[in-house]
């Protein structure tokens, strides 16, 4: 699980300084949501879709049956907010239950066939980490813009 903390260069503090103290929590949550939405949009673009890549045709009948009616992994990517007092956290990633296999796509893993380790490795296709890394500046900008709009 990756956790990235925004480093303030004074911009955020100045924006928060213009806010009333009692309104800071609400403004922070709105700003974190704005930053998280940037990551969510990028991750959804980068996440592989089985219908596009063609891997869905390789699925067994039981897998197709078990996955019928569920969302694509890309569509499960969302964000959630958590309040820990003076720390406000925005969590971005695929949500359960359909998104529970997100880590299997993001990272590489061993290949098991009929219950046995085939000693082969399947390469990961990371989508969340690149999305977070590439949009770092955009996250910062969205965060500050949201704060200023409230100030």
């Amino acid at each position: 699980m990756a956790a990235v903390e925004i480093k303030d260069d004074g911009t955020v503090e100045s924006a928060l300084a213009a806010l009333e103290v009692r309104l800071r929590g609400k403004a922070l949550r709105a700003a974190l949501s704005a930053a998280a939405r940037v990551v969510v949009a990028a991750a959804r673009q980068k996440c592989p879709r089985s219908r596009v890549t063609g891997t869905r045709r390789l699925w067994s009948r039981s897998t197709v049956a078990s996955r019928s009616g569920t969302k694509d992994l890309a569509d499960t990517i969302t964000h959630a907010l958590r309040d820990y007092g003076e720390r406000q956290v925005a969590i971005v990633g695929p949500a359960r239950p359909a998104g529970a296999l997100g880590h299997l796509v993001e990272f590489s893993r061993r290949k098991f066939l009929w219950g046995r380790d085939s000693q082969a490795t399947i390469d990961g296709r990371p989508f969340l980490r690149p999305a977070a890394d590439e949009t770092r500046g955009a996250q910062q900008a969205a965060f500050v813009a949201a704060l200023r709009s409230d100030s």
């Binding site: 925004i6 922070l28 700003a31």
Partner: protein, 1024 residues
């Protein structure tokens, strides 16, 4: 809650390190901002606005005109300008207050004559302005003028004196007016009110007639006639009453009986009659006596009648038949009534109900039980219609259509149930369903139900064959008959009650007379004979025994119906006996006597009745409906008669009728009353004709005798004709001449005093002029003399006021207060005059100053005024330029061509400051010229010349002068020009400036023309 756990990216915001931040709320920040905004003073605000305008101008966001307008507005809003405006407003307010106060003071001390003069002047001005055009306007003007004249004190006093004299004369005339004249005047007023429509409607007509009658009653001769008629009617009624009493005393049955007995005794004593004949004749006389007694007559006739047995049998049979018929009719009527009520309650046909009752009687159920069961069925049917389910099981078992049953009438519903019931054979099912349909005990309906529709129809046919079925008309006829019978019984009860009350005195009188008669010795034998007859009747009664019992009982009941009829039957029997026993001659004599007695009896009964009782008696012989109608008609007619015939005589006649006067008496009195009324009408018509003739003759006589006389003479003539005595007229004339002499004396005195004052003023003016008077502020001798004369007038008025107050009896305190008030008013008047004089001086001074002002001063003043108007934003730049141009042209016209030096000196151009001013003016002109060039370029770009193929809008506009078209835009000043101007002689500079001014004026004219052309083009393009 969204769960993201297997793969997550966290963005963390930690505020632990944030130390800075606002601790104030938004409301507090807003309040602080508001406080800061309020703390800015007007000067800072003005400077800020100036800076803002300058910045906008520097950025090129404002044109020169917008900048100039904004600066003008800002200048007008500057603190100095605001303060100046406030001062000006305060000065204007004070001046207006002073003027209004002065006007109020002047208005307060205006005399009535001055007010009148002013009002007349206003009216004349309005008329001159054409406000009173046309005939109506002329009338209005004349009326208003008359009204204004009436406001003058002398006119009012004259009018009051005249009104008082008229009132006095009217009082005198009224005192000497005769009753006839009063009557005529009141009648004229009443007729006037009627012609004005004040007595509209029936009530108004009644009131008018009543008032007319009342007025007529006030006439002495009418009152005398009425009193005479009333006295005659009273006398006549008293004579009639007395004659009636005498006749009644003389013609009582007992007197006749006594005379008959006396006659028979004489005949017997003379041997003309045998004992048997005497007894027989005596019985006849007794029967006659008894027949005249109402109740005892019938019994007595039975006692003395020989045919009582046959009469009793016939009466018994008749009574028995009547009883039977009446009982059956009563029973059937009650039955029909019951059927009608039950069928109405159940919503059922009468005949259907009878059918069901017949079937119910077979099961031993009474009609009430059948009605109750059908009512239960109807109730359940209603519940089913409202959604109830009580009948669902029974309807299902019978196989009926629920909807059809709900929509059917009660007749049809019962018929449908009976149809289905006929098909059920199981007795238990029948009983169960009957109880379901008709409630507990519904088995009483089983005979009808099992008979089915066919059985019901058969029963109905049987009833029809027996004549038991009823139509709606028959039922209603029976009900109407029953109601009529009930009403008739009530009417008869009233009749008998009235008769009992009215007969009570007769019975009393009869009983007393009988007791007196029986007590006489000579009647003892007759009493013994009557007792023997009674014993004989008793024996006969024992013989008939049982047969007589029903007769008596029926007679008692019939007596409740017609006691009068029973008496008639008795008389019939008696007279039949008499007629049988007498010969033909006796028969005719007795018949004639009976008829006579009957007529007398009827007349006595009617005379003993009041009008209402007579009406009731007549009505009792007719049906109740006719009696009611007659009663209501009589009541209505009586009301109308009471309202219309309100004469005393009519009232007395009605009272006499109510007290029992006979018809002959009433006819006689009515004839008298009609004769009097016709005489009265004839008299009234004659009076009216006479009065009209007199009125016409009087008007003609007045017109002839007053021809050419003045209004006052006509008034005196009218007073004389109205009955004023010569002494009164002389007194009125003397009073009038006295008033006129007093007024003339007063006018002469006032005129003399005024002439004295005028003379004194002239002398004083000459005296002052001789002494070389020179008053303050240029006051002349005439003004001083007029002022002193006004002071003398005031003193005179004050003395007159004191004298008048003392004459009116005012206290010294009041006089002092009035004098003080008058003196204060005079002081204010003097102040007002001084203020007026000062205003006049100021105005003349301003005019004098205006007349000696030089053209340069006028030009400078005009420029200053134009500049102020421009600064105040009261005009556009175009108007400003035009006004400047006009002022310059006026100055050029006012200044002679060779006197330019004077103009330069007037401008102060020969001084150092003047040189600076010239330099500044030239610089301003150059800037203006440059700006005009820029504006012309901008205008040319904004409105380019149209292409050759396009059709420009046709605009008719005046062409500018040729010289202006040919002239080019003046070139800007250069430094060499400026140096050359500085080196010039002042005179030459002035000429140069004038030339430059003319050039600039021409240029401005061209610019103005160009701007107007542009505006017209824009307007035309917008319109197209």
């Amino acid at each position: 809650m969204t769960t993201i756990d297997t793969l997550a990216y966290k963005i963390i915001a930690d505020t632990q390190g944030f130390t800075r931040g606002l601790m104030a709320t938004r409301q507090e920040i807003a309040a602080a901002k508001e406080l800061l905004r309020e703390s800015v003073n007007s000067w800072d605000l003005y400077q800020a606005k100036l800076q803002a305008v300058e910045q906008l101008q520097a950025k090129g966001l404002l044109s020169s005109e917008q900048y100039a307008a904004a600066m003008n507005r800002l200048n007008a809003q500057s603190p100095e300008a605001v303060q100046r405006q406030q001062e000006l407003a305060e000065m204007a307010r004070r001046l207006a207050a002073a003027e209004s106060e002065a006007a109020a003071v002047v208005a307060r001390h205006r005399t009535e004559r001055e007010k009148y003069t002013e009002a007349v002047q206003r009216l004349a001005a309005l008329k001159a302005g054409g406000q009173f055009s046309g005939e109506s306007g002329q009338r209005t003007y004349t009326a208003e003028l008359e009204r204004l004249k009436g406001l003058l004190p002398e006119v009012q006093a004259k009018q009051m004196a005249q009104a008082a004299a008229e009132r006095e004369a009217a009082d005198i005339v009224a005192r000497h007016r005769t009753e006839r004249e009063r009557y005529d005047a009141a009648l004229q007023r009443l007729v006037g009110m009627k012609s004005a429509g004040l007595f509209s409607g029936e009530a108004g007509q009644r009131a008018y007639l009543a008032e007319l009658e009342r007025l007529r009653g006030t006439l002495p001769e009418v009152q005398a006639q009425q009193q005479a008629a009333a006295a005659a009617a009273d006398k006549h009624a008293a004579a009639l009453h007395r004659a009636k009493q005498l006749t009644a005393d003389a013609e009582t049955p007992f007197s006749r009986y006594r005379s008959a007995v006396h006659e028979l005794s004489q005949l017997k004593s003379q041997g003309a009659l045998t004992a048997a004949e005497y007894s027989k004749a005596l019985r006849g006389v007794r029967a006659e006596l008894a027949s005249n007694l109402p109740l005892l007559g019938g019994m007595a006739k039975l006692l003395v009648s020989q045919g009582w047995m046959q009469a009793g049998i016939v009466a018994t049979a008749a009574v028995a038949a009547y009883r039977h018929v009446s009982a059956q009719v009563s029973v059937q009527s009650a039955e029909v009534e019951r059927l009608a009520k039950s069928s109405k309650l159940l919503g059922l046909d009468v005949n259907t109900l009878q059918v069901w009752e017949r079937f119910g009687s077979r099961a031993g159920a009474s009609v009430d039980t059948v009605g109750e069961k059908i009512g239960k069925f109807v109730e359940k049917l209603g519940g089913m219609r409202a959604g109830g389910k009580d009948l669902d099981a029974a309807i299902g078992a019978l196989g009926l259509d629920k909807k059809r049953l709900a929509n059917a009438s009660v007749d049809d519903a019962l018929r449908m149930v009976a149809e289905r019931f006929a098909g059920i054979t199981n007795a238990a099912d029948r009983a169960y369903l009957a109880e379901q349909l008709f409630g507990r005990g519904g088995d009483a309906m089983l005979p009808a139900l099992t008979a089915g529709a066919a059985g019901l129809d058969e029963m109905r046919s049987k009833l029809a064959a027996l004549g038991l079925t009823l139509t709606v008309d028959q039922v209603e006829s029976v009900q109407r008959a029953k109601r009529a019978w009930s009403e008739m019984r009530h009417t008869l009860d009233g009749t008998w009650r009235t008769l009992a009350v009215q007969l009570a005195p007769t019975i009393e009188h009869t009983a007393r007379t009988l007791s007196e008669e029986f007590a006489r010795p000579e009647n003892q034998a007759a009493m013994k004979q009557m007792a023997a007859d009674l014993a004989e009747f008793g024996r006969a009664a024992i013989d008939v025994g049982v047969a007589l019992g029903p007769v008596v009982a029926a007679t008692g009941r019939m007596a409740g119906m017609s006691l009068q009829g029973w008496a008639a039957i008795g008389r019939l029997f008696t007279r039949g006996t008499l007629l049988e026993d007498s010969g033909e001659a006796d028969r005719q004599a007795v018949q004639a006597r009976i008829e006579r007695e009957r007529a007398e009896q009827r007349a006595r009964a009617r005379s003993a009745m009041t009008g209402q009782q007579l009406e009731t008696y007549v009505g009792g012989r007719q049906t109740a409906a006719v009696a009611d109608e007659v009663k209501s008609l009589n009541s209505e007619l009586a009301k109308q008669a009471e309202s219309l015939l309100r004469t005393t005589a009519a009232q007395r006649i009605a009272a006499l009728a109510a007290r029992g006067a006979t018809s002959e008496q009433l006819r006689e009195a009515t004839a008298w009353e009609k004769l009097i009324a016709s005489r009265r009408q004839a008299n009234a018509a004659a009076d009216k004709l006479r009065s009209k003739t007199e009125e016409l003759a009087s008007s003609h006589r007045q017109a002839i005798e007053t021809f050419g006389l003045s209004a006052e003479a006509v008034k005196m003539y009218e007073l004389r004709m109205a009955g004023a005595t010569a002494e009164t007229l002389r007194a009125i004339a003397a009073a009038k001449s006295h008033v006129q002499s007093l007024e003339a004396q007063k006018q002469l005195t006032e005129k003399t005093a005024e002439a004295g004052l005028q003379q004194w003023q002239t002398q004083r003016q000459a005296q002052l002029q001789a002494a070389g008077f020179r008053g303050p502020g240029g006051q002349t001798a005439a003004e001083r003399a007029a002022e002193e004369t006004a002071e003398l007038r005031r003193q005179r008025d004050l003395m007159q006021l004191v004298a008048r107050l003392r004459q009116e009896g005012s206290s010294e305190e009041d006089i002092r207060r009035q004098v003080a008030i008058r003196q204060q008013a005079d002081a204010i008047d003097r102040q007002s005059q001084a203020l007026t004089r000062r205003q006049r001086l100021l105005e003349s001074g301003r005019q004098a100053e205006e007349s000696v002002r030089s053209p340069e001063e006028a030009y400078a003043e005009q420029l200053r005024h134009i500049r102020e108007m421009m600064d105040a934003g009261g005009m556009s730049v175009t108007a400003y330029v035009r006004l400047r141009k006009r002022a310059a042209e006026e100055l050029a016209r006012a200044l002679p061509g060779g006197d330019r030096r004077r103009g330069v000196a007037a401008f102060g151009l020969d001084s150092a400051e003047g040189q600076d001013q010239i330099f500044e003016m030239r610089r301003a002109m150059a800037a203006l010229r440059k700006q005009a060039q820029i504006d012309a370029q901008v205008a040319a770009e904004a409105h380019p010349k149209p292409a050759l193929d396009s059709k420009p809008p046709v605009i008719q506009e005046p062409k500018p002068p040729v010289d202006q078209q040919s002239q080019a835009v003046p070139a800007p000043l250069t430094n060499a020009d400026r140096q050359r101007m500085l080196d010039m002689d002042p005179l030459q500079q002035s000429a140069e400036m004038a030339g430059e001014l003319a050039t600039q004026t021409a240029y401005q004219s061209r610019m103005v023309a160009a701007l107007e052309r542009l505006e017209r083009q824009e307007t035309a393009s917008v319109a197209n």
